[in-house]
Amino acid sequence: MPDNWGFVTAAYGLTALVLGLYWRRLVRREKELDHAREARSRTARAAAGAATVAERSRQPSRSGHPRSEPASRPPLP
């Protein structure tokens, strides 16, 4: 019987191609989720930081001078 190397190559090649593509899809999705998670945690940290600044701006100053409301302050030149 002839060796039919073409059929052997097709069987092994198809298996390698399909498994390789599936593996790459998993890796890509994993990276996407990692990026999304990092972006979410950055946004949460920034929101927490902004909340702290807003909170401090409403507290009386340490020198005892009264503080104006942040909204009533004129913009800096």
Binding site: M1, P2, D3, N4, W5, F7, V8, A10, A11, Y12, L14, T15, V18, L19, Y22, W23, L26, R29, E30, L33, A36, R37
Partner: protein, 215 residues
């Protein structure tokens, strides 16, 4: 651990290739096309294993309602469908030069095709039902029912007259060929099993991350 499994499966697959092309001899009656045997039965074996895991995890989910069991069933079904599709394709490629046809509706091929379509339906069902808990419940039932086709697939070559040969390894009396053919086959069976474990572990981790992102 997942990374270790990945490297282990890469090394095992490389060894399997060396065994299939460097160690295993040229078969007398079929010639070198018989080397497809070192990839086709391992793919079919992993498909059996994957759907067995789906059935076990589905039972565990219905009993305990643990999301981890559902994720394992989902991941294993996806990998199982992939391996079954490849087993059908490589079998078809092997069939053309040896049987003279790409496909025939004999009992083994037909029962495997039914198994493939049932688990494809399982994956579609997951994507169709929006409520996650309900989808998990429906899929658990389907995962158990579909697994009932596996004994039919395995014993079809004994119960009906088929073009497909009887099993080489999983038969009463064990393997009867030479050790030069047996060892490459066993190494490839082990390599594909490790690859299955790696892909499932990776997919389970991904499903957990997706669930956390949605929560």
């Amino acid at each position: 651990m997942v990374r270790t499994l990945g490297w282990l499966s890469a090394a095992a697959l490389a060894l399997g290739l060396v065994m299939a092309f460097g160690v295993a001899p040229r078969e007398v009656s079929q010639g070198n096309v018989q080397r497809i045997m070192y990839v086709h039965p391992p793919l079919a074996w992993v498909a059996y294993l994957a759907f067995g895991v789906v059935a076990a995890a589905s039972i565990a989910y219905l009993v305990r309602r643990a999301p981890g069991a559902d994720r394992l069933a989902h991941a294993s079904a996806e990998v199982g469908v992939l391996f079954t599709g490849l087993a059908i394709a490589t079998g078809s490629i092997w069939g053309k030069p040896t049987w003279g046809t790409w496909w025939t509706w004999d009992a083994r091929l037909t029962s495997v095709a039914i198994l493939f379509v049932m688990y494809l339906g399982y994956l579609l069902l997951r994507g169709t039902v929006e409520d996650r808990e309900r989808a998990a419940r429906y899929c658990a039932v389907l995962g158990i029912v579909a697994a009932l086709d596996m004994p039919l697939v395995h014993f079809s070559v004994y119960w009906w007259r088929t073009l497909h040969q009887p099993p080489s390894l999983m038969k009463p009396g064990g393997f009867t060929g030479s050790a030069a053919i047996l060892w490459p086959l066993l190494v490839n069976l082990a390599a594909f099993t490790v690859l299955y474990a790696y892909l499932v572990a990776k997919r389970v981790r991904l499903l957990r991350a997706e669930a956390e992102a949605l929560a």
